[in-house]
C-alpha cells in the first residue's frame, strides 16, 4: 500500500478496501477488489449459477474463495425450494466448493465459527447480513447474486469505498440490557437509512465491555440502518477468540489518527434500557417498559442476530427461574449453527428447553424470512430475537412481528406478553 499513516490517514474501511483492491483507495472511489471469501446461500446461489451460465461458464475462477451454505430452505420448504437447493449443491460438488448443508447452520455464523471471517479480510456474502463479519475486524458486506456470479467468473468485484460514521461507545450495559438493545437504539436514533452507504466503525472504551456475541449482533444489525459494513477494532477480546477458534493468519486493521470521519454517534451504554421494535419497521423503536401490556402468541429465539449460546443461556435462565412458559405462548428455538446445537445438547440446554415446552428446530435461518421453519398463523403476534419485522417477513402478512433482545423475549415467554 502506498502512503503513510501520517500524510495519508485512513479509516478502517478505507484501509481494508485498499488492501483488498491492492490500491490506495479513499471514500468515494470505486475499488475493484478481490474478496478473501464470498459466501452464497440456497437463497442466492441458484440465481448466481444462472448469471454465470449467461456468461457462458459452468466453472468458477477460484473454488477456494467460495463457500456455500444451505440455510434458507429446510426439509419443509417444499419441492421447488429443494430443487433450487439441489441445483446449488450439484454446482458446489462439480466445482469443489466447500458446502455447508441443511442443518449445519446459518452461513454467517459458520463463517465466523470456522475462522473464515478474520481481521484484515474482505469477506462478502450474497445475503444482506454479511455485515456480521465486521465483528471480526473484517470488511463484511452483502452482495447480490450477480455480484456472486462476477466473483465466480473472475474472482473480483466492484465496491464503492464508503465514508465512515464512528459509533463511540461509553460505559457498560446495565443488568438486563443487551447488545440487541444497543442495535435497536441506533435504529431508533438514526432511522432505517441513517447510515445508508456508510461504514460504521465501533470505537470507544465501551467496546472492551462487549464480548464477541455482542459484537456480532451490532455488526449484523448495522445493515438495518443502511450501513455497508459495521466494523469493530481488533482488541484482546477478539484476539482471545481467534486463538480459541485457531486462526493465526490475520492482519488487524486500525483507523489512522486523523482519518476522515463524517459523523460521530455517541452511545452511553450505562444509560440504556431494554428496547422493542414495533411492527412493521426496524426503526419503530421504543422503550419496552413504556409499552402497554401486549399478549404474544409466539416467542422466536434464533437467527444470525439472536441464535447463539449467550442468547440461550440468558433466555433459559429467565424461563427456568420462573419455572414455566406461559400456556398461551409457543416458544420456538432455532440455534444459529450445528455447533451451537451440539453444545446446547451436550450441556443439557436443549433438554431443558424441551422440558419447558419449547419447540426446538434444526439449525438454519428458520422462521426469520418465511422460507423454512414455523410460519405464524393469521393475526398472530410474535416477539423475536431476529433483525427484521417487515410486514409479511415471516411468511404471513397478517402477523405482527416485534423485535427485542433474547432476554426480553424470554420474559415475554414467561409472562405471555410484554410491556406494563
Amino acid at each position: 500500500m502506498k502512503g503513510t499513516a501520517l500524510d495519508n490517514p485512513k479509516t478502517i474501511a478505507e484501509k481494508l478496501l485498499s488492501r483488498a483492491a491492492d490500491a490506495n483507495v479513499r471514500a468515494g472511489d470505486i475499488a475493484v477488489c478481490r474478496p478473501s471469501y464470498a459466501m452464497g446461500t440456497d437463497g442466492s446461489i441458484p440465481m448466481a449459477i444462472d448469471y454465470l451460465a449467461g456468461m457462458g461458464r459452468t466453472r468458477v475462477a477460484d473454488a477456494g474463495q467460495l463457500l456455500f451454505a444451505m440455510d434458507h430452505y429446510g426439509i419443509s420448504s417444499g419441492p421447488n425450494a429443494l430443487a433450487l437447493q439441489a441445483k446449488a449443491r450439484k454446482f458446489a460438488h462439480e466445482n469443489d466448493i466447500q458446502l455447508f448443508d441443511v442443518g449445519d447452520g446459518i452461513g454467517h455464523q459458520l463463517l465466523i465459527e470456522k475462522g473464515i471471517a478474520a481481521p484484515g479480510r474482505l469477506v462478502v456474502g450474497a445475503d444482506s447480513h454479511a455485515t456480521s463479519y465486521g465483528a471480526l475486524n473484517c470488511f463484511g458486506t452483502g452482495i447480490g447474486s450477480s455480484d456472486l456470479a462476477g466473483v465466480m467468473f473472475c474472482g473480483q468485484m466492484w465496491l464503492e469505498v464508503p465514508r465512515t460514521i464512528r459509533v463511540h461507545l461509553l460505559g457498560r450495559l446495565p443488568e438486563g440490557v443487551s447488545a440487541k438493545d444497543i442495535a435497536l437504539v441506533l435504529a431508533r436514533r438514526m432511522g432505517a437509512d441513517g447510515a445508508n452507504y456508510m461504514a460504521l466503525e465501533f470505537a470507544g472504551p465501551g467496546v472492551a465491555t462487549l464480548d464477541m456475541d455482542d459484537r456480532i449482533v451490532l455488526s449484523n444489525m448495522a445493515v438495518e440502518i443502511g450501513a455497508k459494513a459495521g466494523i469493530f477494532p481488533c482488541d484482546s477480546v477478539l484476539e482471545d477468540w481467534l486463538q480459541r477458534v485457531g486462526v493465526g493468519d490475520y492482519t488487524p486493521i486500525a483507523a489512522d489518527e486523523g482519518a476522515q470521519i463524517e459523523q460521530v454517534v455517541e452511545v452511553d451504554l450505562s444509560a440504556l434500557r431494554p428496547q422493542i421494535a414495533l411492527p412493521h419497521r426496524v426503526d419503530n423503536v421504543t422503550d419496552l417498559e413504556a409499552q402497554p401490556f401486549t399478549p404474544v402468541d409466539v416467542v422466536y429465539l434464533g437467527t444470525c442476530t439472536g441464535g447463539r449460546m449467550r442468547d440461550y443461556h440468558e433466555a433459559l435462565e429467565v424461563i427456568t427461574r420462573a419455572g414455566r412458559i406461559s400456556d398461551e405462548v409457543q416458544v420456538v428455538v432455532t440455534p444459529a449453527s450445528g455447533q451451537i446445537y451440539t453444545e446446547m445438547q451436550s450441556t443439557g440446554m436443549l433438554g431443558r428447553f424441551r422440558a419447558l415446552g419449547a419447540q426446538v428446530e434444526l439449525p438454519g435461518c428458520g422462521a426469520c424470512c418465511g422460507t423454512c421453519g414455523t410460519i405464524p398463523a393469521n393475526g398472530q403476534k410474535i416477539i423475536s430475537s431476529a433483525n427484521r419485522n417487515f410486514r409479511g417477513r415471516m411468511g404471513n402478512a397478517t402477523a405482527e412481528i416485534y423485535l427485542a433482545s433474547s432476554l426480553s423475549c424470554a420474559h415475554a415467554a414467561v409472562r405471555g406478553g410484554f410491556g406494563q
Binding site: M55, S77, S146
Partner: protein, 168 residues
C-alpha cells in the same frame, strides 16, 4: 444532447419500500423466474398492483427504496413487470447495486409531487440524468460515475464482465 433512457407512467410509492414488499421472500422459494414472480409485486402492501400496471412503468418513491434483503429478484421482478426506471429520494445500497448490475435505471431525485399515471421520461444530458414530466417540468437527478454508466450501457454487470473478460 438529450438521450432518452426510459419512459413510462409514474406509479407513486412511499418511504422505506423494502425488498420483501417488492416481492415477499417466501415467494422466491417456489421459483426465481421473474416472469412468474412478477404477479406478486407489492402484493403485501398494494394488492392488485401488478394487474393495474401498464407495459411501461416508472416507479416514484421516497427515501430508502429497496432496503432489507439483498435478494436480486427484487430487481428482476420489477424489470419483468415492466418497470423501466425507479426514481427515489434515496436507495438502499444492495438494491442499488443489484439494479446497476442488471441494467435497471435508478434516479436519485425527489419526484414525489408527481401523480400516478403522469408521463415521465428519464434522459441523459451531458452525463447528468434528467427527468421530464408531462407538466413540462425538468428535474435534475445528478450525475452517474463513468464506471456505472459504462456498466449500464453494457446492460449490466455480467454483460460488462463478459465483454471485457473481467474488470481489468
Amino acid at each position: 444532447m438529450n438521450e432518452v433512457l426510459a419512459s413510462g407512467s409514474a406509479r407513486l410509492l412511499g418511504d422505506d419500500i423494502n425488498t420483501d414488499y417488492i416481492v415477499p421472500s417466501h415467494r422466491k422459494k417456489e421459483t426465481i423466474d421473474p416472469q412468474v414472480l412478477r404477479a406478486f409485486v407489492f402484493e403485501d402492501i398494494h394488492p392488485g398492483f401488478y394487474e393495474a400496471m401498464g407495459a411501461e412503468t416508472i416507479l416514484v418513491a421516497g427515501t430508502n427504496f429497496g432496503c432489507g434483503s439483498a435478494m436480486e429478484v427484487a430487481v428482476t421482478v420489477l424489470q419483468a413487470a415492466g418497470v423501466k426506471a425507479v426514481i427515489a429520494k434515496s436507495f438502499s445500497r444492495t438494491f442499488r447495486r443489484n439494479a446497476l448490475n442488471n441494467g435497471l435505471l435508478l434516479c436519485q431525485a425527489d419526484a414525489t409531487h408527481l401523480n400516478d399515471n403522469d408521463a415521465v421520461t428519464v434522459g441523459l444530458e451531458n452525463g447528468t440524468l434528467t427527468i421530464d414530466t408531462n407538466a413540462d417540468e425538468r428535474i435534475k437527478a445528478g450525475t452517474m460515475p463513468a464506471f456505472m454508466l459504462e456498466m449500464l450501457s453494457h446492460g449490466g454487470l455480467t454483460r460488462f464482465l463478459m465483454a471485457k473478460g473481467g474488470f481489468e
